[in-house]
Amino acid sequence: MDSAVLQLQRQLSDYKSSLYNEGFLDDQFTQLQQLQDESNPDFVVEVVSLFFEDSERLLTELTKTLDQQSVDFRKVDAYVHQLKGSSSSIGAQRVQRVCIYFRNYCDEQNVEGCLKCLQQVKNEYTLVKNKLETLFKFEQQLLAAGGSIPMQ
């Protein structure tokens, strides 16, 4: 095979491994990748894009709700639950973890805690978004160079 392709492949798998090692992604993401095949070539990208949309919406709503004078914790809890669900579905482990703590603060009705968690979630989300986008860019590069995406 082409050395460039090889190099790109290696780069890709290194990057992917690092994502797993750093806890950004977990096994669920692997599962997603398994679902991608000829009949469904863009499955992962589609799901992840949906995740991004969904999360951004949820984060906006969360910010709005926590900004109120009297915070409706039930609503907050519902949003966080959704976010947790989505992130666990695609394997965004760190986001999911923060959501768990977030829910605890919600149960305690601790506004400060919630705000702190919200900030954290946003950070994690941004991080994982960047990482995933980078990952997809690598994949596209590899495909463009004529290689095929290796399964881990």
Partner: protein, 744 residues
């Protein structure tokens, strides 16, 4: 004057004599004539006399005799020839009749005499019958009295009433002056006056029970006459001069429940008797008659029976009351126990999630913290925090595991796994620590040990790690050897334990693992304690080694769940010890590719054709996870419809859908919607074959939510995260068995 040779009547000399003869003859004739008349009259009057014709004969005889005497009257003077003839005829007739009568009488008089004897006999008989009649009458009267008395006595079940009634009725029937009942005291050494007829308040005299007169009465079941002067009969102060009436005493057996044996009526051995004393009125000449005595005896018996009935009833009422009290107490205790159990379950449910979450938070954040820039001091602090929290997390898991184990709610997660790999992994995990302590570890797997087996991989590893870990922990030097082999039936039996006797069968085998170390050993007396919760031996080594003391207890329970046995043999302190356990594992017949849990290695055509065209409906309100799960099912070849709400689900679902997946990990009331879907589907599609199977997908691992799912009729529960393999397994099980249950 002509010469006549007639005798000249000597009138003048014998005139008086002649006169008297004349008169006598006259009266004789009269009598003779009147007697037959009287006879005839009386015969006519009495109809019974059997010998009439005898009387007639007599009459004739007498008449003729009279006639003769009458005619004699004319013969005193000169009489004509006619008179002589008449006289002669009469005399002849008289002679005939009288002879005949005489002859007849010879026959008749014996008969007449026998009539007399018969009459005497009959009279005697009549007298006898009269006597017997009198006897029967008295007996019948006695019987009547007894019946009435018995009726009175038996008409109540109250002991006091019985006794009182007895006395009253007896007093009335027999017209007694006084009637008294003496009952034995608790000690049995005295008789106490309990009831009297006339004295309203018996003052509680007591009399020792060993008096000869009392013994005499007690020794027989008949009524006995006793002297009015003996202590039991002296109830009234002796006042003045009166003749006390006769006194009779009879024993009354007091029967207890325990006296009623199955076969015989109670023996007379250890019996308690009461004494009934009856006194006839004083100054009357009355005597005790036999039938009265009999009456008294019968009554005494009846009283005994009635009293025992009353006693039995009292006992059973008491027992019933006791039972009711106990029942109430038990009920209360049960409710309290239930409350306690509920509280504990609630507690566990909360602990399950609530304890783990912060724990994980601490661990995660500490490890994150470790990655940041820290001063050495800070790093050490963080490391300590991490170590402590790891320990705590393990402890929490252990405790929760143990309580679930004790609960019986733990189920083994049975699947095919690589047996050899487990050993290798344990070996690899322990080797670094062992080499640090300069211990030499060896692993020896028997050649006949199968490579793959069916069982709970995770827990088996836990057991192994615990046992091997202990060996490492308690050894300061030497070597540790781990051997595993297939066990023969004889070697399975722990010589000391008798709990489990394993029987090998076709598709199972027993694996025996021995871990031998040469470390600090265990005192043989402490060995049994080793498996008990929280107990630790006090030796130096263990005090430094930490650990909660739960490890072996949990191991034992896991091993028992796997139908095996675990025990420790040690020769003593510092002589090392050997931990041995056996577990039952299943045999895999062939290496079924799809059953192996794949280390996520994906081959393209994996299961794409497993479920072609299986129509499936999935309900999930989270867009991302909906999409992911849909993709998963599509990947497995199903024809998937995805909906986002319960209403939409119910709208869309039809009989063509074979499975409906419902996400129940919704907070608060969201789960209710999902349950509602299950209930409605059950209602709508009643036929078993036509109904779509409803499976819940949930993130909750606790038993309560699984129970809820089962309660609303879900056919299966799947735990998140759902991998492709898991989904494939789910669909496989659903299509084969119609249910899917994930072991927790």
């Amino acid at each position: 004057m002509e010469a006549c040779n007639c005798i000249e009547p000597q009138w003048p000399a014998d005139e008086l004599l002649m006169k008297y003869q004349y008169i006598s003859d006259f009266f004789i004739a009269l009598a003779y004539f009147s007697i037959p008349l009287e006879l005839i009259y009386f015969v006519k009057k009495s109809a019974v006399f059997p010998y009439r014709w005898v009387l007639v004969q007599f009459g004739a005889f007498i008449v003729l005799c009279g006639a003769t005497h009458l005619i004699n009257l004319w013969t005193f003077n000169t009489h004509s020839r006619t008179v002589a003839i008449v006289m002669t005829t009469a005399k002849v007739l008289t002679a005939v009749v009288s002879c005949a009568t005489a002859l007849m009488l010879v026959h008749i008089i014996p008969d007449l005499l026998s009539v007399k004897t018969r009459e005497l006999f009959l009279k005697n008989k009549a007298a006898e019958l009269d006597r017997e009649m009198g006897l029967i009458r008295t007996q019948e009267e006695t019987g009547r009295h007894v019946r009435m008395l018995t009726h009175e006595i038996r008409s109540t079940l109250d002991r006091h009433t019985i006794l009182k009634t007895t006395l009253v009725e007896l007093g009335r029937t027999l017209a007694l002056e006084e009637c008294a009942l003496w009952m034995p005291t608790r000690t049995g050494l005295e008789l106490q006056l309990s009831y009297t007829l006339r004295h309203q308040n018996p003052v509680g005299f007591t009399v020792p029970i060993q008096l000869p007169v009392i013994n005499q009465v007690f020794s027989t079941n008949r009524a006995a006459k006793i002297s009015p002067n003996c202590p039991v009969a002296r109830l009234r102060p002796l006042a003045g001069k009166y003749m006390p009436g006769e006194v009779v005493a009879v024993r009354v057996p007091l029967l207890h429940l325990s006296n009623f044996q199955i076969n015989d009526w109670p023996e007379l051995s250890t019996k308690r008797y009461a004494l009934m004393v009856l006194m006839l009125p004083s100054d009357s000449a009355r005597q005790w008659h036999v039938h009265e005595l009999e009456l008294v005896e019968v009554v005494a018996d009846q009283v005994a029976v009635a009293l025992s009935h009353a006693a039995i009833l009292e006992e059973s009422m008491r027992a019933r009351d006791l039972l009711m009290e106990q029942n109430v107490a038990l009920d209360l205790a049960r409710r309290e126990a239930e409350t306690a159990i509920r509280a504990r379950n609630d507690f566990l449910a909360v602990m399950n999630h609530e304890m783990r979450t912060p724990m994980h938070a601490i661990i995660a954040l500490s490890s994150l913290l470790q990655e940041t820039e820290l001063t050495p001091e800070q790093r050490q602090m963080v490391e300590t925090i991490l170590k402590s929290s790891n320990l705590l997390a393990t402890l929490i898991n252990d405790v929760l595991d143990l309580s679930r184990l004790e609960d019986g709610s733990l189920q083994l997660d049975v699947r095919t796994f690589n047996l050899h790999a487990i050993f290798r992994e344990v070996f690899n995990l322990v080797k670094p620590i062992a080499s640090l302590k300069q211990l030499f570890i060896s692993l020896n797997l028997a050649p006949d040990l199968p490579e793959y087996a069916v069982g709970d991989e995770k827990r088996l590893m836990q057991i192994m790690l615990n046992v091997v870990g202990n060996a490492v922990k308690f050894s300061k030097e030497g070597s540790i050897s781990i051997t595993a082999f297939v066990a023969k039936p004889e070697s399975l039996r722990d010589p000391r334990a008798s709990e489990i006797f394993p029987v090998p069968c076709d598709n199972h085998f027993y694996m025996r693992v021995q871990v031998k170390d040469f470390g600090s050993g265990i005192n043989p007396q402490d060995i049994p304690k080793v498996f008990t919760k929280f107990a630790q031996s006090q030796s130096q080594a263990s005090r430094n080694s930490g650990g909660s003391g739960l490890g072996l207890a949990i191991c034992k329970r896991f091993v028992n769940l796997m139908e095996g046995n675990i025990w420790i043999e040690s020769d003593g302190l510092d002589k090392g010890c050997t931990a041995i356990f056996t577990v039952k594992l299943g045999v895999t017949e062939r290496l079924n590719e799809s059953k192996l849990p794949s280390v996520p290695k994906v081959t393209r055509n994996h299961g794409q054709t497993s479920f072609p065209g299986l129509k499936v409906l999935i309900m999930d309100d989270n867009g991302v996870s909906r999409m992911v799960n849909k993709g998963l099912l599509v990947h497995l070849g199903c024809d998937v419809t995805a909906v986002s709400s319960a209403d939409e689900c119910l709208r869309v679902v039809s009989q063509e859908h074979k499975v409906v997946f419902v996400d129940v990990s919704l907070p608060g009331n969201g789960a209710e919607d999902s349950y509602r879907v299950a209930v409605r589907i059950h209602e709508r599609f009643t036929k078993r074959h036509g109904r779509p199977l409803v499976v819940a997908i949930t993130g909750n691992t606790d038993r309560v939510s699984t129970e809820n799912c089962m309660r609303v009729g879900m056919d299966g529960v799947v735990l998140k995260p759902v991998s492709v393999d898991k989904m494939r397994r789910v669909l496989l099980e659903l299509s084969e068995h119609g249910v899917y249950c994930e072991a927790h």
